[in-house]
Amino acid sequence: MNPVFDWHALAPDVVLAATIVVVLVADLVLPERAVWQTSRIASLGVLASLVPIVTLADHANDVRTMFSGAYVVDNYALALKAFFLVATYVTILLSVDYIEEGDYYKGEFYFLLLTSVLGMSIMTSARDLITIFVALETISIPTFILAAYRKHDRVSNEAGVKYYIIGVLSSALMLYGMSLIFGVTGSTLLSDIRAHLETVGTEPLLAVAIFLSIVGFAFKVSAVPFHFWAPDTYEGAPTPVTAFLSVASKAGGFVALLNIVFFGFATEAASDLWWGALWALAALSMTLGNLAALRQTNLVRMLAYSSVAQGGFMLVPFAAAGIAGARGDASVAGTSFEAVVIYLLVYGAMNLGAFAVVIAVARRTRSAEISTYRGLFATSPALALTMTAFMASLAGIPPLAGWFAKFVMFRSALEAGTGWAVSLAVVAAVNSVIAFFYYAGVIRAMWFQPSEGEDRTPIRVPPALSGAIALTTAVTLVIGVYPQLFARVGELAVGS
């Protein structure tokens, strides 16, 4: 059978791949003083690949299937492709001055960044175990290098090596799990796996297989107890890379988990095999992530643990869908799927925004200690205000976007409605209160405490960084007040 190429559907990825090549060649050809142009090429390429997404979205509800079902471009894939590209664009805005002013390889940075994004873009369309695995490795391998990008800094080297070893270990576990799934069901296509589970049922070996692959993903999304690489890696990596890891790369892991769970394992019999594991991962990630975050004095480490906890919140809808699915109630799957997608999009905006402010403040203080934020409201009110908005949003306080993400998460659990689901919702509710305490710690430092530094002039923020902050703030505010605008995206994703 000849593979059919739908070039329109492939266009976003093709444009991205072409940009990668151009960036790499430009880095070789351009003279040293013009190498900064690579960042411009990269951002233009990212924007260019958004164009075919828009034209594809114009044909709403078209499902374009390729490679015997292994690669699908539907509304869900498009929505997340757009999310990854916009998140990357913001990451480039964060990186421009950081990379320019530091002693880094410039062109290669954008080459690696975009390669990782290509993996994410493919992941959104992957409906086949092998494609998912290849996409996941394409996401991960460039980020190993990026994490260690401050090559003269031992902490950064440690970050990269730790991330690499954990990443390889989790890939191995996942691959073993996938091979067992293939052995039992006779296919790597998620639709075939699902059909097999529906008709033939489950067997004990499958439980092992599913468990192993979920553990693999748990490493990728840094769920407790597979999270311990995250704080060290986040702290050691260059801050724009940390922003990228905590948002895009984490989202890549979640998209993989969404694909594999909802397109492959979400049958009535199989749900029983996995919901318990996801329930435990969710509860542990929320609770331990939060408790660890409470103790942090460094803002980047705090955000690392907070992202572990936020990951726990994102796992709640998975568990809810599994609990309901195991009782034969398939309706919750739609709500849960939507909840995860919405949570990812909202989390992306507010977390990137928080990192943007961290990078801006660190330009003066050269530090991410929370104590250096004291009195920020007096010296740089705009930065303090936006940071307050991001912290409050992460804590889920209305009218900022975070509340809506938390809300849809709670909604999926309450819709499932069983004792297990509701108790997970209560755990999440208590955790969102605990979380406020450490987010408020930053707010308190900025507003309530006097400044310690000598320099009381406002912090100068370069245009690219200001753009990133403005964009993320706008998204955080608009979604918070009028979530409908955004929720359509989640809804479309589920509709397909």
């Binding site: 209305p398 409605g417 509710a429 208590v430």
Partner: protein, 516 residues
């Protein structure tokens, strides 16, 4: 477009527009910022007054000025706002007090000054307060209920007293804990209640459904979640511990708004949401709520007697007064709930006023230690007399507003809803009556300490301002209202009665009970 379709949205969002404007004005132009804030709050008050004029009091039980627009379709939540006789007085109170707070602040900005941030926060706060009282959709209600948290957090944390950081975070965490569980309760109502229109967040629909289709356990759990959300906000004993800290540390205006409006969000939630939406569970909980209410009355009173700080004493008196309100609500009768709403308004005016005075006393003497104060009547006779007047009003002197909140609430416990245990509530009635005696005790004690006697040596030659123009402007309207409501309570009872009767009749019908 009809004016009635815009009225409530204007009342809620004029302050939001004002907040954006003040945020855009450079910080140095303080006068301009103050004027914008004043005109904004006056604008919102003007709209509310127009609503008061246009409101059809013969149909006070029905929702008026209703707007029901699409908002967040994906979660089936709508922008539904409306007022009836229960919410109207509270909306008016909120718009009214905010204006007075802006006037009082004019020359009284606490350290670190910064009128721009202070007034912007106050305007955002007003959005949340006004919005909560008009929302008729649970999600909308939740949003407004939460919007008040951040501004108050900053007010306490930035402009508060020495222990402000602790007090502000305590305030926030307590309320957030309650509201997080409350949100779960809302979601459970959405998914589990059988309504004619399927799953709904609409408060009218859910109120009419009255918990149909809920199993007993589910109803109990939902009520428990709602109870925690509202009881922490009220605050009821034993969830009150955040209140004295928050009040003591908050700047004067923060205390006034906290006492006058924010606490009412909790009691309003009981009347509007918890009781009508899960009446059967409410019936089971009512005796316990009544018990906590009378414990609050006695505990608050005893707590007052142990205070040395004037503001802290007023804060504890709030716990006691809100106990009377909750006792009225727990009877589930129209008489009790009418009394409760009167109590909310009266407490808002009187305690708000007491906090104003405490603020001015501190401004003059730089202390609120009652053992160091004394002789206010000699040094600032007008302020001393106003303090005496408010203490009388607070202890429930007939002829002033406080009486009509307290006395009927006690009386209502004599005859609760027919399915509630009568003896238990009569016991509560006796305890609550003892509470009024204690209230007289602590308020007169405070008055004696602060106003009577001669000034202490350290303040003998202190330069003390008596009530100034800004204080008169912000206090006089409250004093007039305290007298007006005291002399002619029907001013308020007539507004609330239809709506309350409608609510309680609905509850009684579901429970198969009879109103006394």
């Amino acid at each position: 477009m009809e004016w009635s379709e815009w009225a409530l949205s204007l009342a809620v969002f004029i302050p939001a527009v004002g907040a954006v404007v003040t945020m855009l004005i450079p910080r140095a132009q303080e006068e301009l910022i103050k004027w914008v804030a004043l005109l904004t709050t006056l604008g919102a008050l003007g709209v509310v007054v127009a609503i008061l004029v246009d409101f059809d009091y013969d149909r006070g039980g029905e929702l008026q000025f209703a707007v029901d627009n699409r908002w967040i379709d994906v979660i089936n939540s709508r922008y539904h706002v409306a007022v009836d006789g229960i919410s109207l007085p509270l909306l008016a109170l909120s718009a009214f007090i905010t204006v007075l707070c802006v006037i009082y602040s004019w020359n009284h900005f606490p350290e670190p000054h910064n009128p721009k941030a202070f007034l912007t926060l106050m305007l955002v706060l007003e959005v949340g307060m006004n919005g909560t009282f008009v929302a008729q959709d649970l999600i909308l209600f939740f949003i407004f209920f939460e919007i008040v948290l951040l501004p108050m957090f900053f007010m306490i944390g930035v402009w508060g007293g020495p222990n402000r950081e602790y007090a502000s975070i305590k305030f926030f965490l307590f309320t957030l804990f309650g509201s997080a569980l409350m949100l779960l309760g809302f979601l459970a109502l959405y998914f589990k209640v059988d309504t004619p229109v399927g799953n709904s967040f609409d408060m009218v629909v859910l109120g009419e459904a009255a918990g149909a289709g809920l199993s007993n356990t589910t109803a109990q759990l939902i009520f428990a979640a709602l109870f925690l959300g509202f009881a922490i906000k009220v605050p009821m004993f034993p969830f009150h511990t955040w209140l004295p800290d928050a009040h003591t540390e908050a700047p004067t205006v923060g205390s006034v708004l906290l006492a006058a409006i924010l606490l009412k969000l909790g009691t309003y939630g009981f009347v509007r949401i918890a009781l009508p939406m899960v009446p059967e569970a409410a019936e089971d909980w009512a005796p316990w709520i009544g018990l906590l209410a009378v414990i609050g009355i006695i505990y608050g009173a005893l707590g007052c007697l142990a205070q040395r700080d004037m503001k802290r004493l007023i804060a504890f008196s709030s716990v006691a007064h809100m106990g009377f309100v909750m006792l009225g609500i727990s009877t589930m009768t129209d008489f009790g709930i009418n009394a409760a709403i009167f109590g909310m308004v009266a407490h808002g005016l009187i305690t708000g006023m007491l906090f104003f005075i405490a603020g001015s006393v501190q401004h003059n003497f730089h202390t609120r230690e009652m053992s160091r104060l004394g002789g206010l009547l000699q040094q600032a006779p007008k302020m001393g007399w106003i303090l005496g007047f408010c203490a009388m009003a607070s202890l429930g002197l007939p002829g002033l507003a406080g009486f009509w909140g307290e006395f009927p609430a006690i009386l209502s416990a004599f005859q609760p809803l027919s399915t509630l245990p009568e003896e238990t509530f009569r016991t509560y009635m006796v305890i609550a009556a003892i509470g009024t005696v204690l209230a007289a005790g602590y308020l007169l004690w405070m008055l004696a300490k602060v106003a009577f006697g001669t000034p202490k040596p350290e303040f003998e030659h202190a330069h003390v301002h008596d009530v100034n123009a800004f204080e008169w402007a912000s206090w006089l309207p409250i004093l007039v209202l305290i007298v007006a409501l005291g002399v002619y309570p029907n001013l308020l009872f007539k507004v609330t009665d239809d709506a309350v009767t409608r609510t309680t009749d609905g509850i009684a019908e579901v429970l198969g009970a009879e109103q006394p």
